[in-house]
Amino acid sequence: MSTERRTFALLPGLGGLLKGEFHRWLGRRILLHSVVWTLLVTGLLWLVTTTMANIEWRGFDLLIHIWWIALPLGSIAIAQNALIEERQAETLPWVLSKPVSRPAIILSKVISDALGIILPAVILQAIIAWFMLPALEPKAGLPIQEPEFSRYLTVVAVQVVIVVLFVGVAVFAGTIFRNRGPVAALGLGIWMLLWISPGDVFDRLTLGGVVSGELTGESFKPITKYLLFDQALDSASGIYWTLLWSALFTLAAIGVFSREQF
């Protein structure tokens, strides 16, 4: 009763909210996600590398392709829930009646979901692939190029940026839509847009220049060329810009959410 209340926290309640979210991730959930991600990413990598003799991608380049499909879709599938789930269960007014600030709710969702994807889908898979692919070379039929470690780290960092972007987008969409459908559709639309990457200016202001590739008729994305062919990363600025975009989406989410009434 007599506990002195700290009243000057920067984001009141963020610690408790994060604890709650992490508590939810811990245990069976993170295990399940790790298993599913491993099947989807390195499992598929293993399958293709060892069984499909006539495919031209079979090493780290294929890993990048799989990531580019799995990470945005997975991030959207997971983060679309962040607010919609609470809306549908009508728990937001309850949480908001506690001493928590609204930005803390948005941030706790972005941070916990991003970490919940980055750890099993990026970090874990990067480690598995790093050791698995060279070991698969005898079965693969073709030589597997091994990248420089520092470049590999950069590529992994780009994947983190991708996850943060799509989590930010999905959480933002959750503040303006009331159903999962449009939330997921907005995320998928942005993913497609990056894939199509309609031009230089767009490329420089987004990840487009780093991750697009197919439409130019070349089989390799710029980031694959960076990893395996020692080429420079054309629009590295896109990575920083994309981090900025993620921050902007998160701030927009905070702005919209702060005005909502329950």
């Binding site: 009763m1 506990t3 002195e4 209340r5 700290r6 009243t7 000057f8 926290a9 009141p12 309640g13 610690g15 408790g16 909210l17 604890k19 709650g20 508590h23 939810r24 609470e86 269960a89 009508e90 728990t91 007014p93 309850w94 949480v95 908001l96 009646s97 506690k98 001493p99 928590v100 600030s101 009434q261 329950f262």
Partner: protein
Amino acid sequence: MTDLALQTHELRKHFGSTQVLRSVDLAIPRHSIYGFLGPNGAGKSTTMKTVMGLLRPSGGSIEVFGRDTRRYGPSARAHIGYLPQHPRFHPYRTCRQTLLFVAALYPGHRDRRELRDHADELLDAVGLSDLANRRTHGLSGGESQRLGLAQALIAEPELLILDEPAAALDPEGRHDVLEIIEGLRGRTTVFYSTHILEDVQRVSDRVAMISNGRIVADGPLTDLLSGDDSSWTIRTLGSSEAVQARLSSEPWVSSVDVSRRRDSDVWTVRLAAGAPEEQLLPTILADNQLAIAEFHPSDHTLEDAYLAIVGHNNEH
């Protein structure tokens, strides 16, 4: 430190063109148990939600322990435990985890084991100890309400705001809730809304009534309950028109109202000032066939006071 736990000043709220709160002035003294009454739609829940920061006020001010909630929203809420009208919880947490989650949202550090014991005590107090490890998904309305009360209490707040804490409960559950509120007397300020006037009469010290977005009565319970006592309630079985007619014709009877309640008639007989009250019973008993199930001075209850005040207010 101010002596008021909660104070609102000319609080207003409209949704579009609908004025829900016209001007709500509340002053809830520290450590009081304050009942909040009013018809559905009068603005009780809106007032509470506005205090909790779930709705933005259209005008006026709210202070919790002397602090304006618009500037100090989260830190004001650190002193409040709130039970919404229809409590909902994260379906993936168990009842105990829900309490621990809420406790973690309040500032200040508490020993984990102590907190867990506290959570179990509260679950026991609201009668949910059997469900401590059940997920909140699929709790019945009554169970949710009990858990809602427990989570409002877990951080040991200095002000409890309870929106109809007993609405979904059976008589036993209602009794438990009243007992919990009673047990907080002198330590915590309780501001709660209810429709069950009996409950208010049992535990509140003070009552505010709201109607049409305005506070229409406010004060100690005893003030509201003092009234005239020259009215009698009689419940009879069987035909009684003759007696009623005879009674109505007596000069000292000012009115006889009869309402039918299942198989019996409930009469409300008002006597003129200075009437010979001892005459009433013999006059009625003159009819040999009339069976009388009840005969007593009308309880001047909160319900009467409520209906008088709210009904009066609604006419204007």
